[in-house]
């Protein structure tokens, strides 16, 4: 009902489309989410994408943003992870008061279709999200966002759901430089990989820790050597930092590091370093 109330004053007119695009280079030291040394494989991923957004104006500082995004990723050593994704997003954004330090709340939903080169990974996904943004000074801003989503793949192993809560603290010492620290909590399904060997009874994981996992599993040919992928329901903590210089008013480059620590019966760690550029037209 609250959403309908916010949507009610919207006129038929929408501003836009506003187009933005991104390109990124990502290094993952553990692309397979492996717990043991045998299965830990590093990988570079190159990605790019674009978003077209339309802005519908509501009443007092209330905006409804609709957007359509398309992205692709190429994982240089493991082509099975190459993927193309498209999806819409709906977001309601409202500033509670007047002024740069007034808090902003937002909520919405997004969805997507992701097609992987390994077809069993292809999925349809959807999520709802809500967030809170508070600027304390010109330089300091906190953004907290919660998200709950699910994804339905062709194979059960790659199907799951999750809840995520993340926070970002941005420090902009001037209009050019941004330093950010991030933290996240995620509870839900993920996929952990284990290097495997063929035994008389079939494929077996080399790491016996896999036997502690209760979820579905399957053999995959994604990683150039035999692997078993297990669906794991686990808690993941993440924390990271980023440095982001602006190039002009509408472009920025970001170099970031994030560590993901997944707990559970057979914990694993994945570190990611990303270099990305974003531009809005």
């Amino acid at each position: 009902m609250a959403i309908l109330t916010l949507l009610a004053p919207l006129g038929a007119r929408a501003d836009g489309p506003y187009v933005s695009d991104t390109a990124s280079l990502l290094w993952q030291d553990n692309a397979a989410n492996a717990a043991s040394g045998d299965g830990i494989l590093g990988a570079y991923t190159v990605g790019a994408g674009g978003t077209a957004s339309w802005i519908h104006s509501g009443g007092f500082s209330t905006l409804v943003l609709t957007s359509l995004s398309a992205n692709f990723e190429v994982c240089t050593p493991f082509s099975g992870l190459d993927n193309v994704a498209v999806g819409p997003r709906l977001e309601i954004r409202h500033k509670l008061e007047v002024g740069p330090y007034a808090p902003t709340v937002y909520a919405g939903a997004d969805a997507g279709l992701v097609g992987f080169d390994d077809p069993e990974r292809s999925n349809a996904e959807g999520a709802i999200f809500a967030g809170y943004s508070q600027r304390f000074t010109e330089a300091l801003q906190l953004v907290v966002e919660g998200r709950a989503g699910s994804y339905d793949a062709k194979e059960t192993v790659f199907t799951g759901s999750y809840a995520h809560l993340g926070a970002t603290l941005n420090w902009d010492p001037n209009a050019t430089w941004r330093f950010a620290v991030t933290g996240g909590w995620r509870n839900g399904d993920t996929v952990a990989g284990y290097e495997a060997y063929r035994s008389p009874s079939g494929w077996e994981p080399i790491d016996p820790g896999a036997y502690a996992l209760a979820g579905p599993w399957r053999y995959v040919a994604t990683f150039r050597k035999p692997f078993l992928d297990y669906r794991v329901s686990a808690l993941t903590w993440s924390y990271g930092a980023a440095i982001s210089p602006a190039i002009g008013r509408n472009t920025s480059v970001t170099l970031g590091f994030t560590r993901f620590e997944t707990l559970g019966p057979d914990p694993y760690i994945s570190d990611e370093v990303s270099l990305s550029i974003a531009h809005k037209y």
């Binding site: 500082s61 209009a175 941004r178 993920t190 982001s244 602006a246 994030t258």
Partner: protein
């Protein structure tokens, strides 16, 4: 002949009371660089000259998601309009003590014209685009001018007399004022040292995003 001389003297005195001297204010920061967008103004110490606001409103345009004029000096009683020439809506506001107002989301020519009826600085913002910032400086004196990129402001139309010369800038670190005597002979140049605080503005560039968990 004496009568003619006396008449000439009286006429000269009458003219000098209305003489339009020009005070050239040259602003420099401590490194010697010119200071743009500073408002130099003279406050009469021997009277209170009337201010006459313009009959038409002053326009502060928004374009490319920025206010096109960073500092706009006006006299008390001036009306200001805020045409939005962007394709996206803006929500112009001020929470400054000298003038609180807001014009909720609009595009094109807003029907609202805002009356600035109290002297002082007014900070303008957009409640959608936090990086947008501009200033209206409302003056109770008709004698003012804004510095250009060369740091120079020419205050014209000052009758002879005593004044307090002041300089205002959005990032002014310390008050700048001095007493000034405008003589009958007219023009004078004042070199003023202005110290500014660092230019801290809200970042406009988009986020490039970070790593996502998979």
């Amino acid at each position: 002949m004496k009568r003619l001389f006396a008449a000439a003297l009286l006429a000269s005195a009458a003219l000098s009371a209305h003489a339009a001297g020009i005070v050239r204010v040259v602003t420099k920061d401590p490194s010697g660089s010119p200071v743009a967008d500073a408002v130099a103004y003279a406050v009469a110490l021997d009277g209170t000259p009337q201010v006459h606001p313009p009959s038409e409103p002053v326009a502060i345009v928004q374009k490319d998601q920025e206010f096109q004029t960073y500092v706009t000096p006006v006299v008390v009683g001036t009306r200001v309009v805020f045409p939005n020439k962007d394709t996206v809506q803006h929500h112009v506001y001020s929470v400054s003590p000298a003038k609180k107002f807001e014009i909720p989301l609009y595009i094109g020519e807003s029907s609202a014209s805002i009356l600035f009826d109290r002297p002082g600085p007014v900070t303008l913002g957009c409640n959608i685009h936090d990086w947008m910032v501009a200033y209206v400086f409302v003056l109770a004196t008709p004698y003012f001018a804004k510095t250009g990129t060369d740091g120079v402001a020419d205050i014209s139309g000052l009758p002879q007399g005593r004044y307090r010369l002041e300089v205002w800038h959005p990032r002014l670190a310390a008050k700048v004022e001095r007493e000034l005597v405008v003589a009958e002979s007219g023009d004078t140049t004042q070199v003023v040292s202005v110290t500014l605080r660092p230019d801290r503005r809200i970042r406009r560039a988009p986020d490039a995003g970070g790593a996502d968990y998979k």
